[in-house]
C-alpha cells in the first residue's frame, strides 16, 4: 500500500526533514507516526499525499509512484486516499452534507450514489442531524467528524490523518480515535501522525517513531515511549 525507499527530504530553507527513510505499510494496517515536533512525521504524511516532493528516493502509494508522478495525476492519487487534517480543512461555504458530497462529486459519482452514501457516512460519524449546518456552526469535534466522513465517503484504500486530535479536547479525541479504529476494522489502512502519548499507548497499534528525520523504531503493538529508543536518542 505504502512504500518508502531511501527517502530523503530537504526543504528549501536547508532543513533536513527526512534522511534515508525505508518503510512499508500493508493493507489493513493501523500505523502511528510519532515523534517530537520537527521529527519528520508530518513530512511523511505530506509525501504520501504529494503535498511535498521527495529530494531523494522513491515513494509508492496505492500503486502510484508519487516521487515521479505528473502534476495532472495528483488528483487521482488523492482520491485514492482519505485525508484528515489537524485544522479540519472543511469548505466554509458548504454545508456538512455538501462538504462530504463534494468528495464524491469530484469523482463524478452518480447523484443517486451520492444521495445513498453521504447520509450513510454521516450516520456512521454521528452527524445525521447536522447535515444542513455550516462548519462554523459546529464544534471542533464535530468538524473533525465531518472531515472523517469526507475522508471515508469514497471508500479509500488508505486513510491518512495528520494530528487529527491536535485541536480537540481529550474526550472528543477519543471519539475520533474510536472512529478511526472502526474504519480500520472495515479494512481501510489507517496512518496517523500524532504526538499524543495517551492515545498511542491505549490503542497499542504499530508505532513508527521518528527523530530528526530518521526512523528510530518500528514496532507492532508499540507504546509511545520505549526505553531502548530513548537510550538511542539520548546517545
Amino acid at each position: 500500500m505504502v512504500k518508502f525507499e531511501n527517502v530523503s527530504k530537504k526543504y528549501s530553507n536547508g532543513t533536513e526533514a527526512l534522511k534515508g527513510v525505508n518503510l512499508r505499510i500493508g493493507k489493513g494496517d493501523f500505523v502511528f507516526f510519532i515523534g517530537q515536533s520537527g521529527s519528520g512525521k508530518s513530512t511523511l504524511i505530506k509525501l504520501i499525499m504529494k503535498e511535498e516532493e521527495t529530494t531523494e528516493g522513491e515513494v509508492i502509494v496505492n500503486g502510484f509512484n508519487v516521487s515521479s508522478m505528473e502534476r495532472k495525476e495528483i488528483p487521482f492519487l488523492r482520491r485514492s486516499l482519505g485525508i484528515v487534517f489537524q485544522d479540519f480543512r472543511l469548505l466554509p461555504g458548504k454545508t456538512v452534507y455538501e462538504n462530504v458530497a463534494f468528495a464524491m462529486q469530484i469523482t463524478e459519482a452518480l447523484p443517486k450514489e451520492i444521495r445513498r452514501r453521504v447520509p450513510m457516512v454521516l450516520s456512521l460519524v454521528g452527524l445525521s442531524k447536522k447535515a444542513d449546518a455550516f462548519p462554523n456552526q459546529l464544534s471542533g469535534g464535530e468538524q473533525q467528524r465531518v472531515a472523517l466522513a469526507r475522508a471515508i465517503v469514497n471508500n479509500p484504500y488508505i486513510l491518512v490523518a495528520d494530528e487529527p486530535t491536535g485541536n480537540l479536547d481529550p474526550e472528543t479525541s477519543w471519539g475520533i480515535m474510536k472512529l478511526l479504529d472502526e474504519i480500520n476494522q472495515m479494512g481501510t489502512t489507517v496512518i496517523v501522525a500524532t504526538h499524543e502519548k495517551s492515545i498511542v499507548d491505549t490503542m497499542k497499534k504499530r508505532v513508527i517513531a521518528l527523530d530528526r528525520g530518521v526512523i528510530m523504531r518500528d514496532q507492532e503493538k508499540g507504546l509511545y515511549e520505549d526505553e531502548d529508543t530513548n537510550n538511542k536518542i539520548r546517545n
Partner: protein, 297 residues
C-alpha cells in the same frame, strides 16, 4: 465533462455567488461602476462620430456643370458616364430653365439684369451626392476627365477640414475607448482576483481532496460570469435611463438647437454587446485565470 458534472458546476457557481453575498455585492458594484464609466464614454464617442458624419454628409454634394454647347444627346451620354462612378449615391439633373430660375433667385432684386434673356446661355448641370465623403476628391478627379464636363463645384476646403476633424475625432475617441476599456478590464480582473484571494484556502482544500484544476476552476468561472452579467445589466439600465434623460433635454433644445443625440435604440445592441462582453468575458476568464496560482498545492 459529463452532463451531471456540468450541472453541478453551474449549480455550485450560482450557489457560491449567493453564499458569498458580501464579496459578490462588492464585486458587482465595482464592475457596474467600471462599465458605466466606459459606457458613458462609448456613447459620447458614438455621438461625436455621428455629428461629424452628419456634417460631412451635408457637404458631400458636388455640382457638375456641362459644357454649355452640348446638345441633349451629348448631355444624356454625359449623365450615363457620370452614373458609372460607383461612388455616386444619387444624381439630379438641373435643366437650363431650372438654372435660370435659380440665378434669378440668387440675384434677387437685381434679376432685372436678366430681362431679355432666357436660360439658353446657361449650362446644364448635375447635382451629385457622393456615398463616401472621404472619396469626394477622387470622384471630382475622375469626373474632370470626362469629356463635356466644364466645371465641378464643391466646397473642397470645408470637406477636407471636416474629413480631418472626423478622422481625428475618431482616432481620439478610439484611443480613449481603448484606455477606458483597459482600465475597466484591469479593475474588474483585480476585483475578481481579490474575490479569489479571499477564497484561496477553499481552493487548496479542494485540491487536497482530489479535485482536478478544471473542477475547481469552472464554478469560479461561472461565478465570475454571473457577477459580470449582473454588473453589466445594472450598468446598462443606468446608462439607458441617463441617456433617456439627456436625450429629452437635447430634444427640448436645452443645449441649443440643431444638436440631437443618436437614438439609443439604434445602438442598443452595440451597447449591450460591449457591456456583456466586458462584464461576462472578463469576469469569467478573469476568475478562471486568477485561481491558477492557488491551484499549485
Amino acid at each position: 465533462m459529463k452532463i451531471r458534472t456540468t450541472k453541478y458546476v453551474i449549480k455550485d457557481g450560482v450557489l457560491n455567488t449567493y453564499r458569498n453575498k458580501l464579496m459578490s455585492f462588492a464585486s458587482i458594484i465595482i464592475i457596474t461602476a467600471s462599465i458605466l464609466v466606459f459606457g458613458i464614454f462609448l456613447l459620447i464617442s458614438i455621438n461625436i462620430s455621428s455629428q461629424t458624419d452628419k456634417a460631412l454628409e451635408k457637404q458631400s454634394v458636388i455640382e457638375v456643370f456641362c459644357d454649355a454647347n452640348l446638345d441633349d444627346k451629348q448631355i444624356q451620354d454625359l449623365e450615363v458616364e457620370l452614373r458609372k462612378n460607383t461612388n455616386v449615391l444619387n444624381m439630379k439633373k438641373v435643366t437650363r430653365e431650372e438654372a435660370f430660375n435659380r440665378l434669378k433667385e440668387i440675384l434677387g432684386e437685381n434679376k432685372k439684369a436678366l430681362e431679355g434673356y432666357d436660360g439658353s446661355f446657361l449650362p446644364v448641370s448635375f447635382i451629385v451626392k457622393i456615398k463616401d465623403p472621404n472619396q469626394m476628391k477622387s470622384v471630382v478627379d475622375s469626373f474632370e476627365t470626362i469629356k463635356g464636363v466644364e466645371y465641378i463645384g464643391f466646397l473642397e476646403k470645408d470637406v477636407a477640414f471636416l474629413t480631418s476633424v472626423a478622422r481625428w475625432a475618431r482616432i481620439i475617441c478610439l484611443i480613449l475607448i481603448i484606455i477606458l476599456l483597459s482600465v475597466s478590464v484591469f479593475i474588474i480582473s483585480n476585483t475578481i482576483k481579490i474575490t479569489v484571494f479571499a477564497r484561496r484556502r477553499e481552493i487548496s482544500i479542494m485540491k487536497y481532496i482530489g479535485a482536478t484544476d478544471w473542477f475547481i476552476r469552472l464554478p469560479f468561472a461561472v461565478e465570475g460570469i454571473i457577477i459580470g452579467f449582473v454588473g453589466a445589466s445594472i450598468s446598462f439600465v443606468i446608462t439607458y435611463l441617463l441617456y433617456g434623460v439627456m436625450d429629452n433635454q437635447f430634444n427640448k433644445g436645452v443645449f441649443g438647437d440643431g444638436f440631437r443625440l443618436v437614438d439609443i435604440n439604434s445602438v442598443i445592441y452595440y451597447v449591450i454587446a460591449s457591456y456583456c462582453c466586458i462584464g461576462m468575458v472578463v469576469g469569467g476568464i478573469g476568475s478562471a485565470i486568477s485561481i491558477r496560482k492557488y491551484l499549485h498545492v
